[in-house]
């Protein structure tokens, strides 16, 4: 095992991780580990934009943004965190511009902004342009800029290093163990501060908009160390995933006037949201689609509906939605100027995650007690900004605002905290043994089958509509899959760039947190935001206006605890659009 030391080690090189690395790098020695090259991180796939009430294109204020975020999250978000998010959004957006992000511009040369679902002025009244964007490559532009700034800052990158274990002893995080994928060699990293910015986990679903790398590694890593996971039952499904893979078709397609049809040729949104039709919020449209599919009105009885743009005319489509046109041709072989696009709801975003305080410190009890030296930000963290449902364009914003904040906090922390503690023998040895055990797997079970069964069942049972029966079935199934995982076998015994092993570890992670999701969802007997229970169709503020915390106990079982929601300004009200 090779050993490395840095004041700060950041795991993950998406927007959150890179912002943290860049900021901390101003005064500290920083290393970044990522299992893919930084520019391959999933943040690059974000198209639509990043919210900030700059008011460049119409009257906007952070307070309106605050209200939209609170309401969009169905009042489950912590309002102190949400207030911080929307206030800091403004200086952070300017800072990103100064760093070089190539934002699109208004006629006067300011950062251009566009409308997005759920963005309103005057506390929910009129639509407002709030999403700052760089054409339809907003995340890509931000990701590359932050990567390049980190290079400038002298941040040390460990590319294609796959973290397999955190070293936490006596409530202090001292470092981690990672696999260098290219050589198969394990490395120990010793640090004063470790930040997890490992992104989302929607790969656990069969139909997902997420990249192959989004397997929730950070979540499983902290859970294994006894840290709880917060609000894991809240998973956002986007209404327009391209059938059959779920690749994202941006909201812009409906924004420009696309229609949704069922097999009877009916614009079924009439039944679900008569006034807003296709432009109703994401969770509403996704639920409508799923209902149509479940009731057999999917196209040819199948699992998809039609998103029709043909009436917009070839000219409009090619001018305003060129990216979508290209995407549909490349990934489905369909020319959307002539034919409707097959779409289905797709698992998209994880509202829950690793509980942190406003300074991104990971909370050992989920409430107050921090794990010293351990931080988390971005999609893997839960501060909680998004509550029960994320507002479009608030997620890259969260990654930027809290990544940046975490970077500054860590820089201060390492100055005060003294030198890096000496390496410990036991945890690295355990990690090594665990890894060797996996490499030697030679049982009869196939990882592919376990993964496929997990993904299919998550889509079926922990999808848009949930019931106690489905969730119970899922919990049992996951436990069964976990047992089968113990007998898994792999064929590749080589150490060099062995992706069979990395995929196997990712599968292990997915089984771990999927169980948490199913268990948390089963317990929450209400419908709120993205969590819809057929058996409990109403929001229940008396019982459930609280965050779920799921602890993995030493014996492997799960224990649930809850904590209150922080409400500072906006009292819960019925969520109508």
């Amino acid at each position: 095992m090779e050993h490395h030391r840095h004041d700060v080690v950041v795991v993950g090189a998406g927007i959150a991780g890179l912002y943290a690395a860049m900021k901390a790098g101003e005064s500290a020695d920083v290393g970044v580990l990522s299992k893919v090259y930084p520019t391959r991180s999933h943040s690059g796939a974000a198209q639509g934009g990043c919210a900030a009430a700059l008011g460049n294109e119409g009257n906007d204020s952070w307070e309106f943004h605050f209200y939209d975020t609170v309401r969009g999250g169905d009042f489950l978000g912590d309002q102190d965190a949400q207030e911080l998010l929307v206030k800091e959004a403004i200086p952070v957006m300017y800072e990103m511009e100064h760093l070089g992000v190539p934002f699109s511009r208004t006629a006067e040369g300011k950062i251009a902004q566009r409308p997005f679902g759920g963005h309103f002025a005057d506390f929910g009244k009129t639509a407002v342009k709030r999403a700052c964007y760089a054409a339809d490559r907003s995340g890509h532009a931000q990701l590359h800029c932050l990567y390049e700034q980190s290079l400038k800052q002298g941040v040390r990158f460990y590319n294609e290093f796959f973290v397999i274990s955190l070293i936490i002893e006596d409530g202090t995080c001292r470092g981690l163990v990672a696999l260098e994928i290219r050589t198969g060699v394990l490395h120990a990293f010793w640090a004063r501060a470790v930040m997890l910015a490992t992104g989302g986990y929607a790969r656990a679903w069969r139909v997902t908009s997420n990249s192959h790398a989004n397997t929730g590694d950070g979540l499983a890593l902290v859970a294994a160390a006894g840290v709880p996971l917060e609000d894991m039952e809240f998973v956002q499904f986007h209404p327009t995933g391209l059938y059959p893979h779920g690749i994202l078709i941006s909201e812009a397609a409906r924004g420009e006037g696309g229609y949704l049809f069922n097999n009877d040729g009916m614009r079924f949104m009439e039944k679900y949201a008569k006034s807003k039709m296709e432009l109703a919020p994401r969770d509403v449209v996704s639920r409508a689609e799923q209902t149509e599919i479940d009731e057999g009105r999917g196209i040819d009885g199948g699992e998809y509906l039609h998103l029709d743009l043909t009436h917009l005319g070839e000219k409009t489509i090619l001018e305003r939605l060129p990216q979508i046109h290209e995407l549909v041709v490349k990934f489905a072989g369909i020319d959307c100027t002539k034919k409707p696009i097959p779409t289905q709801p797709t698992a998209h975003y994880s509202m829950g995650g690793i509980p942190t305080d406003l300074d991104t410190r990971v909370l050992r009890d989920g409430k107050k007690q921090a794990v010293e030296g351990l931080f988390a930000s971005g999609e893997c963290a839960c501060v909680s900004n998004h509550g029960a449902n994320r507002l479009g364009t608030n997620s890259t914003l969260e990654a930027a605002v809290f990544g940046r904040r975490g970077g500054m906090v860590m820089a201060r922390f390492v100055k005060e905290a003294g030198p890096i503690l000496p390496g410990a023998e036991r945890p690295t040895r355990e990690a090594e043994e665990g890894f060797e055990h996996l490499c030697a797997s030679s049982g009869p079970e196939s990882a592919k089958r376990i993964r496929a069964e997990l993904q299919a069942s998550m889509t079926d049972n922990v999808g848009i509509f949930r019931t106690a029966a489905k969730l119970q079935k899922q919990v049992a199934l996951i436990r069964d899959l976990k047992a089968r995982f113990e007998n898994v076998g792999i064929s590749d015994r080589s150490r060099r760039f062995n992706t069979e092993i990395t995929e196997l570890i990712e599968l292990k992670y997915m089984l771990d947190f999927s169980e948490v999701i199913a268990v948390s969802a089963l317990a929450r007997e209400e419908s709120r935001g993205a969590h819809s229970r057929n058996d409990y169709p109403k929001r229940d503020d008396n019982q459930w206006l609280r965050h779920t915390l799921a602890f993995r106990e030493a014996d492997g079982s799960l224990r649930l605890d809850y904590k209150p929601v922080v409400i500072t300004r906006f009292q819960p009200e019925e969520r109508k659009y």
Binding site: Y37, T39, R137, L151, R182
Partner: protein, 232 residues
């Protein structure tokens, strides 16, 4: 429909030389080459190694040579290809294993051109003003996904992998052409060096190879013009 894939295999731990292995895959409608590779890995041969992440054509992980042409596996429809489909790693780079190439040099070349905004004036407390026309100057430059397909296809790079290559130079142009940037002189020692812009012989392979339809040749030409304007 059944299709055959002839895939480049190399693992120095197992055998010193590379070879080709043929797999037959049952292709579903609208499958891309990446779907087929996944199917091979998961159902037939777990030891096949390749990179992939976004499967949206935006992260640049899956660049490889498909039927002789560099492209993104996740974007190329199997139905658009004829005959036995040959899949090889990107040419011009060292192969680590199977379809996985060593990209470290590629990224260090990127770093060498100082790919960050070098502004001559301090920022205000708001955004720097840039007109939409000025912003247009970097269209066709900032979209690069750093997949490496272009540099991999460049004959000048084949014979000299110290040449910065089209991707790094396109990135340099992305900053040099940005009206907010004043860093041309700071980048000169690299751009105007033995392995800098003069090693490009306007061969256009890079343009041919780019899956995002960018034009690195033009970017390099623009850099030369900027430099000429500076020197004369």
């Amino acid at each position: 429909m059944e299709r055959q894939f002839k895939i480049y295999r190399f693992n120095p731990e197992a055998a010193p030389a590379a070879s080709f292995q043929t797999y037959t895959v049952d292709i579903q409608h609208a499958w891309t080459v990446l779907d087929a590779l996944n199917a091979i890995k998961w159902d037939q041969d777990g030891s096949l190694s390749f990179r992939r992440s976004c499967r949206h054509g935006i992260c640049g992980s899956c660049a490889m040579k498909i039927n002789g042409k560099n492209g993104l596996a996740c974007e190329v429809q199997v139905e658009s290809l004829k005959g036995v489909i040959t899949v090889e790693p990107l040419p011009g780079f060292k192969v680590i294993r199977d379809l996985v190439t060593d990209m470290d040099g590629f990224f260090s070349h990127l770093e060498a051109v100082k790919p960050w905004l070098i502004a001559g004036t301090p920022p205000t407390d708001k955004e720097r003003v840039q007109s939409p026309e000025d912003r247009k100057l970097i269209d066709g430059l900032y979209e690069c996904i750093l997949c490496g397909a272009c540099t991999s296809a460049c004959p000048s790079y084949w014979v000299n992998d110290d040449f910065l290559g089209p991707a790094a130079l396109l990135k340099a142009a992305r900053y040099v052409m940005d009206t907010r940037d004043d860093g041309l002189t700071d980048r000169l020692d690299v751009l105007d060096s033995r392995n800098g812009i003069w090693r490009c012989h306007t061969i256009f392979n890079c343009v041919e190879a780019c899956p995002k339809s960018l034009n690195p040749t033009e970017a390099i030409v623009k850099l030369r013009q900027k430099l000429a304007a500076l020197r004369i």
